[in-house]
Symmetry: C2
Subunit: 327 residues, 2 copies
DNA sequence: CTGTTAGCGCTTTCAC
DNA sequence: GTGAAAGCGCTAACAG
C-alpha cells in the first residue's frame, strides 16, 4: 500500500480512503491512485485489516462429519447464505465427539472467527453458552435464546410421529423401528414420536421391534439383519434416518423381500439421494438447505448486535414409493 | 499478551519466547507466565501472528459443488490430511464456472491463504499458472509440474475402458453410453475410453447409443429416457458417473426393466452411496479420499519449498451387482 | 480535502 | 536469559 501511495504521490491514508470510500478525495488523486493500484496489481491485505478492525470476516462452521449428505446439504445452504456478504467460512468437524468439538471451537476462536455455527453435536448447552461469551453462536439441534446465542431445533418427535402415523393409516400394525444410538438426542426424540403414534393407535409398544443402528448405512443393514434374524413378524419399518433406511433396503433386497410389496419403509431427513433410490424413499423432510441459510442470517444479525429469532420451516412427510397399504 | 506479561512480571517478549519455545527462559519466570496465561485464559491472536509471519496457516480449497458426494469424499481426505498440521481450510465453490472460479481464487488470495487446492474446474491451465505465481497451487484434473504448481490427473480414459471391456467380456455388444457435457474434460476422456474398448472388440461405434446427461441424477434419468424412447436396442449401459447411473437406474425401475437381469449398468467414481444402491452398483473406483489426502501433502511440501510429485493410486473396476452376462 | 501519527497483537533483532 | 524497540499492513483520530 505504501508502494501504491508513493507511486501515486499521495499518503497511504489517502489510498485507504479511496479503497474504503471513507472520505472524499480529489478526483485527480483518485485517478492516480486507481492507476497505481492496477499497475501494481495491488489488493489490500485482509489480515492487516482484520488486525486493525478486530473482525476477520470469517465465520466458523462445526459439522460432525464432513462427508455426509446430511451436513452437506446444510453447508450448501450456508454457502449460498454467505454469498455476497464478504464473509467466508472455515469448516471443521467434531466427529460426533464432545471433546473434539470443544477442541475445534477453541481452534476457531484462536483464529478469531467472528461467529460460530454449530451443527448439532454432543456438547452440553452449558459449554456452548460458555463459548458464546467469546463469540456469537448459532446452533442447530438445541433450544437457545440469548443475546449471543440462538438455537434451532427440528421437531424430531413430530416428524417421527408423522412417519409412523402414515404407516398406521396404511393399515400396518407390526411396525419396526431401526433407531439411532441412545446418546443421540435426535434419535431418542424420534423414538418417542414412534411410540406416541403407536400409543394413539392403541398398538402396544413391542421392544423386540426396535433395533439400534448407527445412523449410517452399514448400521442400518446390520440392524435390519438382526431384526430379521429375531424372527419377529413385521410389515413396515421406520428408520431413524435415510442412511439407515438405505442400509435396511439393501438387506431386504438381498433377502428377496420386496419394498414396498412385502414391507413398507420410511426414512427421515429426505437427503438429496432419497428421490433416486430404488424405489424412491418415503421419508420425513427436514429443510436442510433452508436451515443452513437461516443459520447464516441469524449469525449475521448476532454479529451486528441485532436480535435473532430462529424460525425454520416445519418437518413434513414426503410420500414416495416405499410405502403401501398393508396386505 | 501484554496483560500476561505484566501479571507475570516479565516483558511481552519473554511471553512470546515461552509460547514459541524460541529461546531458553528461566524456570521461575516460565512458571509465572504459564500461571498468568491460564488465569487470564489467554490464547495468542493468530491474526497478529499471521501479520507478522506472512503466513496464515490456512489453505484454500476450491470445489465446484459443495453438496456433491464426489467433492465431499475428497474433502474428507483433505480434512484428515490437514489434521494435526495446524492448518485450517477455507472452502469455496466455483460452481463449474471459470469466471466464478477465478473470482473465488482472488478472494482466497486476498485472505492470504498459504496455498490453494483446486478441485477440477473449468479454468485454463494458463490461468492457473498465473495464480500460482502468487501462491502454490495443487490442482486435480490437470497435468502440471512446476515449482509452484502440481497437478494430478485420473486416467479417465483407462477407467472407462475398464468398464466397457468388462461389459464386453460379459458378452454385451449393444452398449449404450450416458455421457457428460462435452465441455467437461473428464467426460470426453471417458467417452474416448468407451470408444476404444468398442473398437478393440470390433464393435462398431454407434452414435445413436450415446446420449448426453448432466453428471447429475436428473440428467441421467432424462438421458436414459431419451435413449429408451429412441427405440435403439441395448443390453448394457455405461454411465459417465455414478450419479448419472443412479438416475438411469430409476428410469429403468419405472419402466419395469430389471437390473442386471434385463440390462447391465456400470457407473464411474464409486461414490460412498454406490455400495448401497439396489442392487449395489458396479463402477470404476476413483480413490477420492486418497486424492484429498495426497493433495494436502503435496500442498504442504510446496509451501515448504520442497518439490512435490503427484502420485495417486490408479482407477480400478469394482464389480458389484448391476452387471451380468448378456442373455 | 489530505498528510502525520499512533496502534491493532505479536515476533524478533539488538543490546545488556 | 531478558527487556526495549521496531515493524508486519492497514485504518482512524487529529491536525491542518
Amino acid at each position: 500500500m505504501t508502494d501504491v501511495a508513493r507511486r501515486a504521490g499521495v499518503s497511504p491514508a489517502t489510498v485507504s480512503r479511496i479503497l474504503n470510500g471513507t472520505a472524499k478525495v480529489a478526483d485527480d488523486k483518485r485517478q492516480a491512485v486507481l492507476a497505481a493500484i492496477s499497475e501494481l496489481n495491488f489488493a489490500p491485505n485482509q489480515m492487516a485489516q482484520s488486525l486493525k478492525h478486530g473482525r476477520t470476516m470469517t465465520i466458523g462452521i462445526v459439522v460432525q462429519d464432513i462427508a455426509s449428505p446430511f451436513f452437506d446439504e446444510i453447508l450448501h445452504g450456508v454457502d449460498d447464505g454467505l454469498k455476497g456478504t464478504g464473509y467466508a467460512s472455515v469448516i471443521v468437524s467434531g466427529h460426533w465427539n464432545a471433546d473434539e468439538e470443544a477442541e475445534r471451537i477453541r481452534l476457531l476462536l484462536a483464529r478469531k472467527v467472528d461467529g460460530i455455527i454449530l451443527l448439532t453435536g454432543r456438547m452440553t448447552d452449558d459449554t456452548v453458552l460458555r463459548f458464546a461469551e467469546q463469540r456469537p453462536i448459532v446452533s442447530l439441534g438445541r433450544v437457545l435464546q440469548t443475546e449471543r446465542a440462538v438455537g434451532y431445533k427440528l421437531d424430531n418427535e413430530h416428524g417421527a410421529w408423522l412417519a409412523v402415523r402414515h404407516l398406521i393409516e396404511l393399515g400396518h400394525r407390526r411396525i419396526a423401528h431401526l433407531s439411532g444410538p441412545v446418546e443421540n438426542r435426535d434419535s431418542v426424540e424420534r423414538l418417542a414420536g414412534y411410540q406416541r403414534a403407536l400409543k394413539e393407535a392403541d398398538i402396544a409398544f413391542d421392544p423386540a421391534l426396535v433395533v439400534e443402528g448407527t445412523l449410517h448405512e452399514s448400521g442400518g443393514l446390520l440392524a435390519m439383519n438382526r431384526l430379521y434374524d429375531s424372527g419377529q413378524p413385521f410389515t413396515a419399518v421406520f428408520a431413524v434416518n435415510d442412511q439407515t433406511a438405505y442400509g435396511a433396503r439393501l438387506f431386504l433386497y438381498r433377502k428377496g423381500i420386496r419394498v414396498p410389496d412385502d414391507v413398507s419403509l420410511v426414512g427421515f431427513d429426505d437427503l438429496p439421494g432419497s428421490s433416486y433410490t430404488t424405489p424412491p424413499l418415503t421419508t420425513v423432510r427436514q429443510p436442510l438447505y433452508v436451515i443452513g441459510q437461516t443459520a447464516v442470517q441469524s449469525m449475521l444479525r448476532l454479529i451486528n448486535g441485532e436480535p435473532a429469532d430462529g424460525a425454520i420451516p416445519p418437518v413434513e412427510l414426503v410420500v414416495r414409493e416405499t410405502t403401501r397399504r398393508s396386505a
